[in-house]
Symmetry: C2
Subunit: 325 residues, 2 copies
């Protein structure tokens, strides 16, 4: 039985591409993008047919000092409006709220007063009850909501089943499969995705996928899971994101057959804005050190440090990681 939805030529109108460049990419440069960069990316995304643009985190100003980060760590309404005005486009605006790192009761206005359309709640699997509390709150304020269960490659299957059951009974709109450690291959990413899809069958809820590129399969995992019915697809320009980065939006737009998506505009943005970012020394993307942490299914922090220190002693680093698991 072929469980794939459609084929490689199908237009899947349920697909939503979510650009996470500023949010996940912000983890590479402390959210210190120029205003011009963010504004041009916003315009590029609209022209490219991107469905959602995630601008950053709504982090707690009690826990994080404003002056220590760029503005997209906090996504104040006035900063968003300075870029998008009243956002008269069809593209929707998303922000991320981390469980335990967000003053969600005080920092969100009702949807009617905000240009934000969707709040994405990120949590680890043991934080699902806390995430649901936040999701219910955002739902009451009028926002679309997602629950992004991170590091699912470390959770056991029973936990995942229970988490999905709880989320299916909540008001969340989209449940995300998040491969935080880049530990999944197309084969098990697809199996997990099918488990998520079965869990929401018969409801209006959708499934999303957020990849990391540790084993250079972020794009492959994204298109494989989408072929089984995942519809919310996270991607970023040139894969910009923590460590090995995410699914590159240019590969994804090249793949998708819906004529609303247009690769051309992203290319100009890369020429004019991404190349200089790299020249300034902002680093992300697949490299051997990330392969190791992906393979060992662990947090990329040691690999990020290895990268920051410009180390090249891969064999030694791999041996040390093996000793420490």
């Amino acid at each position: 039985m072929n469980l794939r939805k459609g084929n490689l030529m199908s237009v899947r109108n349920d697909i939503k591409v979510v650009d996470v460049t500023i949010r996940d990419g912000g983890l590479c440069n402390n959210f210190e993008f120029t205003d011009e960069f963010v504004k041009e990316l916003y315009k590029t995304n609209i022209k490219s047919g991107i469905d959602y643009m995630e601008f950053g985190y709504k982090a707690s100003k009690n826990m994080f000092k404003k002056s220590d980060f760029g503005k997209w760590k906090f996504c104040d309404e006035e900063d968003l409006r300075a870029v998008v005005g009243d956002n008269l486009s069809d593209m929707k605006i998303a922000v991320m709220a981390d469980v335990g790192r967000c003053d969600y009761k005080t920092d969100f206005a009702p949807k009617s007063e905000s240009v934000i359309d969707m709040v994405r709640v990120a949590c680890y699997i043991h934080q699902i009850p806390a995430a649901i509390e936040m999701i219910e709150h955002f739902h009451e304020l009028g926002y679309e909501t997602t629950c992004n269960i991170m590091a699912v490659s470390q959770a056991n299957s029973d936990q995942v089943v229970q988490a999905l059951e709880m989320l299916v009974n909540s008001c969340v709109d989209v449940i995300y499969l998040v491969d935080s450690f880049g530990a999944l291959y197309p084969e098990n990413a697809s199996e997990l995705a099918q488990m998520y899809i079965q869990a929401v069958e018969g409801t209006e809820k959708k499934i999303g996928f957020h990849a990391h590129n540790n084993q250079n399969v972020a794009f492959a995992n994204t298109i494989e899971t989408l072929s089984y019915g995942v519809s919310y697809l996270d991607a970023s320009v040139q894969g910009m994101g923590r460590g090995a980065g995410n699914c590159p939006v240019e590969l994804l737009l090249g793949f998708l057959k819906n004529p609303k998506y247009n690769l051309y505009w992203v290319l100009g943005f890369i020429e004019n804005y991404m190349l200089s970012l790299k020249e300034q020394g902002v680093v992300w993307g697949y490299d051997l050190q990330y392969l190791f942490t992906g393979l060992l299914n662990c947090h990329p922090r040691d690999a990020i440090e290895f990268t920051a220190n410009d180390r090249k002693d891969y064999a030694q680093f791999y041996t040390t990681l093996l000793d420490n698991i």
Copy 2:
């Protein structure tokens, strides 16, 4: 019905990893590797559990001037023996013979007089009869043989069916699915692989896969096709190969569960030999220009030229390619 052979934990004893670094990588540096590089790679491959090492082409000296290329364009027996002696290891030695570019009747000694174990015959689909003639000759000389049908993404299905039928009736040992243009995704690479596998069912013949990384799915396509029963897997160190390169051997060794494979030794080789190659200006690997030719299912030559000219005007290049198809 799950058509996959085994699961992600299985040891598949039918798997053979073929290192193509010198042969496909040689297309990036005119086969001008130092003797030390080749010797160290040979030793590394043995320690890593690699099953076959492809040393290069057996190109016609009537068509190509010896002084214009490094020695691995020709793979003379004495050059091979200078590296491998009598090759007392379990690893087998392969060379490639291109249809129409090889004096195969004069340039190959009988297997009993050569350290070469396997001759891989590369052809386009219309050259299958010529390839089979060569394969029968190499078989009579005592060599293992493969037929690598290149650019299969441009062939129509009828042609592929006919080619497979002819090869099944020949004495070839391994039939290779070759994604020369990096145009395949895991979904259609797997479908094609299953077609090849069905064609050889009931025979002793095996199927191989050779990927190109234009759309950054060389590794993903390799592990997806292997999961459906492909057993000969081409890979190269850091994916070194023409244009966007091949499946990186370090990703593949990380993936394979057979304890005979050992990632560690490849890492030392990368530190000591690959990094300096890159510093010398040898260029390969995924980049936007290769994505375009992969997407458009065309030869990477324009993208290789774009790379050589250090151009970064991706949008313009993409537009020109679109105009020319």
